[in-house]
Amino acid sequence: MRDDGYLMTRDLTAGRTAPLAAGAERPGDESVRVNDVWRAFGEREALRGVSLVVEAGEIHALLGPNGAGKTTLMRVLTGMLSPDRGSVEVMGMRAERLVSRGYRRLFGLVPSGDRTFYLRLSGLENLRFFGRLHGMSKRDATERAMTLLAMVGLDDVARAPVNTYSHGMQKRLSVARGMFADPPVLIIDEPTHDLDPENAERVRDLIRAVAHERATAVLWATQRLEEIRGFADRVTLLHRGEVKVTSSVPSFLAAVPDTSYLVHIRAADGSAPTAAACLVVLGPAATVDEAGDEPGHVVVTPVTGSTLGDALAPLLAAGYDVLGVREERPGVERAFLWFTREDGP
């Protein structure tokens, strides 16, 4: 807090890459704790005993399909929704009844909705307005807005009305607003689900930098399974309001059965080989199954530790032609299906 009453959760004047000040959050400190939260809407239970912890500097992916309870959990965290049972704490402060102003200073929110800005105002004016509601002076809010607009790549349209922004630009503006007061916790609800790959990567890079440089705890709700690899530190899989698994991303992926491939093969004599014939050639490097009634198509699953190349090498050596290969399902998607199947772990 500065002498002039400028309300900031953390001191931004230190710069984005400056070391953390004494007393600031350190990686590993607990920033968010969700403890056995239950919430129902009528007969439908949206959250069923959800518990999780997000640490400072951690990107924690909240993974789940539509209706899993991700947005409900985020709304409980922001105080927009009260739980039926259980509790949530942000930086050790518990959300109760109408959450206090002190609590609201602790998090930045990037909502999932499409319309969250004053459309006739510019991006700069929108950010400046929300910045001033965080207690900043007009000058500081303007400087911070310009910095953030540059960070999200919107500085060239800073003074254009938001109603001229594309959907992706509005999403980036929303991320900038969430980061405005440099909160210790960022709550981000599906920010990339309808962004093109370039914009999605840009947003992820930004959040990754904030999490690691500012030790910001990030709770990132997504149903894009592929984006957690190489981005999130830990993942909680939510399904029908229940936590199915919480683990590091590598552990999550390692728990998944091996990836399968649909392979179109032609024998040296031009005939379409059966799965059994292929298996004789492949040996122990992979399992082979028929792929329906399509002649010459088999499903090849390399054993753990083997690549598809390893698995197919004997076939190629025996004079078979590989006419096409298609991954049966993306690895992370298989992980998702594996964990959410009725008889899953």
């Binding site: 400028y6 927009m80 609201r104 929110l109 499409d114 800005f117 001033r132």
Partner: protein
Amino acid sequence: MSSAAAARVEARKLAAFLRRDLLQALSYRAAFVSDIVNVVIQVIVFGFVSKLIDASALPTVDGSWISYIEFAVVGILVSSFLQLGIGRVSTAVRTEQLMGTLEPLLATPTSLTVVQLGWVAYDLVYVPVRTIAFLLAVSIVADVSFNPGGVPATLVLLLVFLPFVWGLGVLGAATTITFRRGVGVVGLVTTLLSVTSGAYFPVTVLPSWLQRFAERNPLTMTIDTARELLLGGSAGWNEVWQTVAILVPASILTLTVGVAAFGLALRRERRLGTTGSY
């Protein structure tokens, strides 16, 4: 931070609301211009109506006859504050709901009181400016003269009147948050208060049961006192304090009920999880 510094920070947020709404109003240039044109048209219309109405049908002010436009202009002045207080807060809530900005706004560390005041900050500046423009237009076009000595007392009167209508406005906002289209409920209250206020016609023409309501209507009392102050010559602070003595408890009542209802409405939304719905 001391409570005084915190209050300063919160008060500074009102300037942000003011700027936001000014920029939005200016972005609708046609609406902005047409409102000014409407002021002029209003004066012309009341000027014509004034020619049809015999001054003897109207109540006297300070023992003198007044024209209809003189009678109506003070009613319009006070009524515009009623519209501001009651209508604006509800409209602002509804607009935030429809624009999807209500949840992001409530997620900021801003007190509910500042949010409620922020919603009317622009109108608190704009309506008096518009009213002054209206009075000037009336003075010039319809040759109506006002008692300059009554202006300070009228301002005090309006300052005390505003919390009364603002309390009703916050109550209306609570109904908007709860029922979404609560502006209809607010509109009914506004209509009832306006019809029995004597703003456009003397309350003596009302049925006797409505007259009894009108006698207790704070809007009627405020308009009557403002007429005495602006059009008469002898009314002074004594008349103001008598009205203020009624307005203060009425304001406390409406503000208390309004703020409590607003808090309850938000709590209910939080319980149901429908804060951002519309």
